[in-house]
């Protein structure tokens, strides 16, 4: 979804600072950082966890529409917290 947000100066400054500390907009865009923060605060405990194909030696955690697509940069950022 594309939208416009009006952010207080201090929030905008924090986002710019966080983006810079993670390697800049290419790695951590403002959009990525806002999505990250919203998921952290509002996702809560899920009613049901992800569907999982659990077979010995081959497991796949299935993605549904409530679950994000992730890149290697997202994995690195999550582990860097």
């Amino acid at each position: 979804m594309k939208t416009t947000l009006e952010l207080p100066d201090d929030v905008a400054a924090l986002l710019r600072q966080e983006s810079a500390s993670r390697g800049g907009r290419r790695v951590a865009s403002l959009s990525t950082l806002v999505s990250y923060a919203v998921r952290q605060v509002y996702a809560g405990v899920p009613d049901t966890p992800a569907r999982i194909d659990l077979k010995e030696g081959r497991v796949v955690v299935k993605r549904d529409k409530q679950m994000p697509s992730v890149r290697s940069e997202d994995v690195a950022a999550a582990l860097d917290d």
């Binding site: 999505s35 990250y36 998921r39 952290q40 996702a43 899920p46 966890p49 992800a50 569907r51 999982i52 659990l54 077979k55 010995e56 030696g57 081959r58 497991v59 796949v60 955690v61 299935k62 993605r63 549904d64 409530q66 679950m67 994000p68 697509s69 992730v70 890149r71 290697s72 997202d74 994995v75 690195a76 999550a78 582990l79 860097d80």
Partner: protein, 138 residues
């Protein structure tokens, strides 16, 4: 040659929503018979990722289920080993670290190498630094 998967490749194989899932899953399925492993740090990283709402959104797992996911992947006909590094960070590797984000990657290189494994990664910079100790997945 047995392979050790780094955090990103192992998680990509597990989670369908990772952009590299198909490549990592196919590679792991095809190469398990050669012998494979993850470091203990990668095991723990996987638990963290599977329980993190910024990664799995509304689908996050609890600790019991996350551990079961990793243990079930490690089981089966071609069992995965857990590598535990017991030595201190080696000078020949760690003196080449230039940023804090490299520390864990270099540790995985050291741990894999100490056990006779080659690290599998999608990190081009890591592979460029240690081409003899890693292979690069697309």
């Amino acid at each position: 040659m047995p392979y050790a998967l780094d955090n990103d490749v192992f998680f990509a194989a597990l989670y369908e929503g990772h952009v590299a899932h198909d490549a990592a899953r196919s590679w792991l399925d095809a190469n398990k018979p050669n012998g494979w492993a993850i470091a203990m740090e990668t095991y723990l990283a996987s638990l963290r990722l599977l329980m993190n709402p910024t990664i799995l959104g509304r689908g996050i797992l609890n600790g019991k289920l996350a551990r079961r996911v990793v243990e079930t992947e490690l089981a089966g006909a071609h069992r995965g080993e857990i590598l535990i590094g017991c030595e201190r960070p080696r000078a020949d590797l760690f003196d080449r670290v230039t940023g804090h984000r490299q520390v864990m990657d270099f540790w995985l290189i050291q741990t894999a190498q100490a056990h006779g494994y080659t690290l599998v990664t999608r990190d081009k910079a890591l592979h460029r630094t240690w081409p003899e100790h890693s292979i690069l997945l697309p």
